[in-house]
Subunit: 237 residues, 2 copies
């Protein structure tokens, strides 16, 4: 059994777009529904746990519990005060029989069934890896800086990748990583960072450029435009 955790909200999110962005309607459907549909369509995914904003469970339930669009949603749980706590809540709701768990931010609606399938297959294929993270070589020119913001050097763009989601892991390893991080009070910026600190082997999987995360209102416009272009093939693909 392979499970997906779609992180769609936590109690720590500020009001405004952040708290409601997953429910904002883009091209006629809520943002969250796009990622749900992509994971639902993937044959390698057998169950989906949705982590929702605890104060708006009914609204999230209305989106997620749709036997046509997302028949695989098994649980909807309330998120915590940080992203990490939200994922931890989702992990507890995943079947104990799950062998691979793939985590995705619901604010990235442009994920496709093809991308999810490709990541799951690549992790399946390479037994040396404990996890696989979608991302791309950094588009930015990156500078390492000291505490005074003086540049120490320019990083090699090919050696630095920006991590996105989805991120897929052996279930046992991800559970161990979360247990240890929570016990030690470590707060990471993504799921892989928790796994990396166990010394586990995590690979990067190059995804399409347009797998963007909605963070400001303008992003909704961009997503709408990209969805409209969907059939012709999206940028970066």
């Amino acid at each position: 059994v392979n499970a997906a955790i779609i992180v769609a909200g936590g109690s720590g999110e500020r009001s405004g777009l952040a708290a409601g962005k997953q429910l904002a309607v883009v091209a006629g459907r809520p943002v969250l529904s796009y990622a749900l549909a992509a994971f639902d369509a993937c044959p390698a995914i057998h169950e989906i746990v949705v982590v929702a904003h605890p104060d708006r469970m009914d609204e999230y339930r209305a989106v997620a519990v749709d036997p046509v669009a997302s028949a695989k949603v098994s649980r909807i749980v309330g998120g915590g005060s940080t992203r990490q706590r939200s994922v931890a809540a989702g992990l507890e709701a995943v079947s104990s029989s799950a062998q691979t768990i793939i985590v995705h931010d619901g604010a990235r609606p442009l994920v496709t069934e093809g991308l999810v399938t490709a990541v799951m297959e690549a992790l399946e294929r390479d037994g040396s890896l404990d996890g696989l993270v979608v991302g791309h070589p950094s588009f930015d020119t990156l500078k390492s800086v000291d505490v005074d913001r003086v540049v120490l050097g320019t990083l090699d763009r090919n050696a630095v990748w920006a991590a996105q989601t989805p991120q897929a892991f052996r279930a046992r390893v991800l559970r161990e990583a979360y247990a240890q991080a929570m016990a030690e009070g470590f707060e990471g910026t993504d799921d892989a960072s928790l796994v990396e600190r166990l010394g586990r082997r995590v690979g990067m999987f190059q995804g399409p450029r347009d797998n963007l995360k909605i963070t400001v209102p303008e992003d909704l416009l961009v997503v709408e435009r990209l969805l409209a272009r969907g059939a012709e093939g999206r940028r970066g693909e």
Copy 2:
């Protein structure tokens, strides 16, 4: 005398948006005109050199030579096959009396007079610096990876900044850096990287989040929306 080089095109750019994005009309005006107006309005800037696509000089000239909007444009020169060669062409057209040179990508139309002034003043104030680069701590989760794309570790986001433009430098140092890079065949991803390799001291200056670079057609939409919000204050400011 302080000079600005606005890089608006080079012969190496592919057709389509890349070659023409500076001429695309947003909110009634060409993209390039916004950056020009910001630098023109800055009292600390005395002359502006525009680097244009060599095949479209007339079109760029029509935008840049506007005695009302950009009275300070002193020269329009054709760009080279790479960004670095384009800046080098601009450098040759800057007055030899220039003491500070500030370089900006014309594809970042959301730069403001206030930002340009703040950077020029900060560089003026801190004699220990040879250059000052606008940027921000990375928004992305960044992974250093080996040649097999296996994650070596997650970078500390506070210690890694994304560099944008404008980037301001002591004129003498920038000229030396370009001469040396060109002589040695070094190709950097930004101007500061050429100065850094001389062992010169470059600082980061935190800019607003919305100083985005137009790279894909959707970005034009976002810029239009952000310009419309201009009076109410833009995101990140």
